[in-house]
């Protein structure tokens, strides 16, 4: 791991959980002064290890009851450019993540919708009309957990 020590890793772990915790609070827990904690956090940012923040929202409570992971293959004939596909897919508001992958599919998408009916609408009107789209496989998300990872 790039030159991070055990304290850096603990800091990253804590910030991944709650990015709003004040440096003084984190420092107290790790036995560091506030300025020392600050310097470490800034270094983690400068290294790119900590690349911003993300709101953790309860999608279902906000009326988005369905999350679907899609595996997409591009059609091999009359192949539209990857750029065209990517530009169009990123513009769909219901599409939360897009990854270009190697394997059984070409792209992996995470899509949210209000319910299955709404998902069908997004799939038919937005996804299936994308330039170059081929076969699509859908898996409906039942549960999800995020883990700290190798820190």
């Amino acid at each position: 791991m790039t030159d991070l020590d055990a304290l850096d890793r603990l800091l990253l772990r804590a910030l991944a959980q709650d990015a709003t915790r004040p440096a003084a609070d984190l420092g107290r827990e790790l036995g560091l002064s506030q300025p020392a904690t600050w310097r470490r956090i800034r270094r983690l940012r400068d290294l790119g290890a900590l690349k911003g923040r993300r709101l953790d929202l309860d999608a279902a409570a906000l009326g988005f009851g369905v999350t679907v992971f899609l595996g997409i293959k591009l059609a091999s004939r009359g192949r539209a450019s990857l750029e065209d596909f990517e530009r169009a897919v990123c513009a769909i508001r219901e599409v939360q993540t897009v990854e270009h992958v190697l394997g059984l599919y070409d792209y992996r998408l995470r899509v949210v919708a209000r319910d299955l009916e709404d998902f069908e609408r997004v799939l038919r009107r937005r996804i299936m009309t994308l330039p170059g789209i081929g076969p699509v496989e859908a898996n409906v998300l039942l549960s999800e957990e995020r883990l700290p990872g190798p820190l």
Binding site: M1, T2, L12, A16, Q17, D18, A19, T20, L47, G48, A49, L50, K51, G52, R53, R54, L55, D56, L57, D58, A60, A61, L62, G63, F64, F69, G71, E86, V89, C90, R93, E94, V95, Q96, T97, V98, E99, H100, V101, L102, G103, L104, Y105, Y107, R108, V112, E137, A138, N139, V140, L141, L142, E144, E145, R146, L147, P148, G149, P150, L151
Partner: protein, 154 residues
């Protein structure tokens, strides 16, 4: 249970999704609210469990984990405890950063990070293939992340 939201809630969450770094004062300013009302709204969203928190995003590549793989696992469902036992053991693998379960052709997805292909190969053989009740496993290796904001279309 759907939270009773109004335009102000949606506007606040939309602004925060776009710029999670905003202070309450800046957020209030952009939303056209007083700082006090803004803070009260946010507290209400937190209490209701709608706003679960603000997470720091880790860039695994920057930490030296250049390889990211999505493993799509089908389990042997003739084993009644297949899900529970598989998930419990998968959680113990340090390189697993996300676990999702599905309704569909795939039962479980594991998001894995590895330093390089050699590390991934060892990890796959020694820590993944030994997980219990796997019937089939497919892997998708990430070439590039095109969009990753995970924003809700509020």
């Amino acid at each position: 249970m759907i939270f009773m939201q109004d335009d102000t809630d949606r506007r606040l969450l939309r602004l925060l999704q776009e710029a999670p770094d905003l202070s309450t004062a800046e957020l209030a300013d952009r939303a056209g609210l007083t700082a006090m009302r803004c803070a009260r709204r946010l507290a209400r969203l937190e209490e209701a469990g709608v706003l679960r928190g603000v997470r720091g995003v880790i860039d695994w590549k920057a930490l030296g984990f250049a390889v990211a793989v999505s493993l799509r696992v089908t389990l042997d469902k003739t084993q009644p405890r297949a899900f529970d036992e598989f998930l419990a053991r998968a959680r113990e693998v340090a390189e697993v950063i996300e676990i999702q379960t599905f309704l569909g052709r795939v039962d479980v997805r594991l998001q894995i990070v590895a330093r390089d292909l050699g590390h991934y190969r060892d990890l796959y053989r020694e820590k993944i293939l030994v997980l219990p009740h796997i019937a089939d496993i497919e892997s998708l290796m990430t070439l590039s992340v095109v969009k990753s904001d995970e924003a809700l279309p509020l």
